[in-house]
Amino acid sequence: MAELQTKDAEMTKVDFDQQKLETYWKENRSLVFTMLGIWFAVSYLIQFFSGAINSIVIAGFPLGYYMGSQGALIVFVVMIFVYAKKMNDLDKKYNLEEEGE
């Protein structure tokens, strides 16, 4: 246990290549902002206009209600997996993957 903690402390001191880290973080940041944009749109924008889009009815579901009860949820789940996949690829690209896997 104690061993694990000292190891943790050492890890934080690992010298990173500053330049590489900056670009990695920049890419991550733009990915996160895009994702947050989608998140905002499906949860807030669509719900704000749900009254208007409710006139579109599919299989009995008014579109606004459908987005609030199912559509947005599906987008959320897919989005998280896509983000995980993209980040894992990004780790590989910048050779920042964890050891041991």
């Binding site: 943790d8 990173f16 947050l36 009815v57 947005a72 998280i80 995980a84 964890e98």
Partner: protein, 756 residues
Amino acid sequence: MQLKKILGLYVTGFVVLTVVLALLEFAGVLKLQGIGYVFMIFSVAVYAMIGIITRTSDPSEYYVAGRGVSAIYNGMATGSDWMSAASFISMAGLLFALGHMGLAYILGWTGGYVLLALLLAPYLRKFGQYTVPDFLGTRYGGNAARVIGIICAILVSLTYLTAQLNGVGTIVSRFIGIPFEPGVFIGLLGVLVCSFLGGMRAVTWTQVAQYIVLISAYLIPVIWLSAKLFFIPIPEITYGKVLERISVMEKQIMGKENPNPRNIPAEVLNDKIDPAKEKESRDLWAKEAAMYKAKLSNVDSALAADKAALEAKLASLADDKVAERRAALEKEKADAQAMMNAPLPIDPKTKQPMMMDEAKKKELEAKIAEADKQLAMLTPERVKAEKEKAEKALAALPKNAEEAKTKWTAAQTAAANQAKGTGDYLATPPLVSADGKSYPMLQFLGLILCLMVGTAGLPHILTRYYTTPSVKQARSSVGWSLFFIFLLYFTAPAYAAFARYEVFVSLVGTSIAELPSWIASWKMVGLLDVVDKNGDGIVQFADFVIKSTDFVVLATPEIAGLPATITGLVMAGGLAAALSTADGLLLTIANAFSHDLYYKIINPSASVQSRVLISKILLVVVALIGASIAAFVKLPVIAATVAWAFSFAASSLFPALVLGIWWRRTTGPAAILGMIVGLAVSMSYSIANFFYQFNILSLRHTESGLLGMTAAFLVIVIVSLITPAPDKALQDFVYSVRFPKGAAQGKEVESIGGAA
């Protein structure tokens, strides 16, 4: 023992048990209560067994399950950690009652995972300690931040825990028919056996088991119902049709024009809906509401008048008074009789007795009949019953003006609610309400934001991402968590829609003497009532009184025509949901005390054994405190507290965590001040709004986080900019958290027996 083998055995065991119980029920051996007992004993025994198998006193095992929980299992565990009694039993009911407004809970309690995945989980896992205050203490350099973090974590978790234990008590008492207070403590035992012995490791694997029970219990009834109505066993697709039918019947009930624009065939609707009678019933409710309103305008005199009237009635029922009345009536009757029989005067012209005047005769007959009727009311049995009734009413009369006010306000609200009839289930919240006083759309979106941000700030959920073996697994684990939660959440609206449809087609228009069996059985339990307001012997929608919308989930098995065993299974699922959440919360609170406060601040040289021991002792203490609050305080606030926990977390922990990772310039003093201000704003607004109806922009106490988090973010940013930037070591620390390389790796577990 092999992990997969254990889980396999467990699931098989549960299926076999369910089938056996169903057979016993058909054989007439078992009733719902017996089934409840068997399910409860079996599930608690299994959780206890898992606790014993995985018992541990190794801190890494105890606090973060040895960082050996793979993404999918961690997802399942988070799912049941997350889904509480409120999600399982109450959410569908909330949707039933609130319509589109209720979707705030569906969106809010899922969308938060996106924030968690994008902004927090991988970084906390990279940091790799044990708790949320651990991170705050390290990032903001010192014990001050850690202590504030501890206070926030405990406050949020304790608020939430009380609500959970309240749910546990309700379910246990309903399940096996014991009173609420012992129910809380029996349920608590189930929570404790598991978390006490094995800490996070036991809790994790119990939660995985609990997830399997709760999701099957939730899905089976509604899948069955969908198959029965539409021959397609996917309720999430079929309830669209149900929504259409609901809309038509709502319009019919409210007597609106052109109720069926899409020409839905009449055989799937209800031709017994009678708009005129509906209106009659609604008007009577409105009258009742007005009556209470009048009483409330002058509580003291109304209460005195009620009391005087009842006392006068009682006095008139005293033995001597009754005897007096009887005598008077007997005399009246005898007199009338005598007049009837008296020889009539002789007509001087015809020398014959005069014919009695027809009208006069009728009058006398009526008099006799009336006297008989009144005498029949005065038989000793009748008088006794009347007396008892009046005495009871007198005893039930509010003791003082205060109580009268509460009681009558509740009665007024209830009656006014019935008088509204049915709203438009699919109506979206308008920007401004009809009376121009509130902003429903703002409330709706505000609640969604508070619940989402709060989700990402709940300590017991955040700690779960410390348990995965790697950063990579932490990332996908959030996805799995949400996927497992999603299965329940996207089904909940189907429950609500089916239940609403069923009320419209099978309850409205039936005779009050032949209620559908599910209505009768849940009426007995007190979740709902049918009051024949206009006394026509037929049920109108306005006659249907909902006392607890929990009936939506609990009654669906019976609506679908499934045996009582499935109802028992649903309750077992609800219990699993409540217990697993309580487990996770309890552990978080106990660890905040033992790990963060005791080990990190008070006694850093404490041995490993003593730390875990202290954590276990605290666990029991916190559990007892939580249970006592839930069982004995019983504030009306408890129901509201679930939403409060989210707002508190959103206003305190979330801003400090997110800015700590994403903005290197964030300073310690800023974060500390931000957490304090955020929490203070959110708490004081909740209290001011709940108890004193104070409001800003019509925001309710459930959306207090909107103000709290705005304040917290502002304070942190401004104070950070005016305080000196964090030193190099701290900036490096932030750096290190951002990149997965170099994370302490855990080893995925294959078996859960023995200490690792």
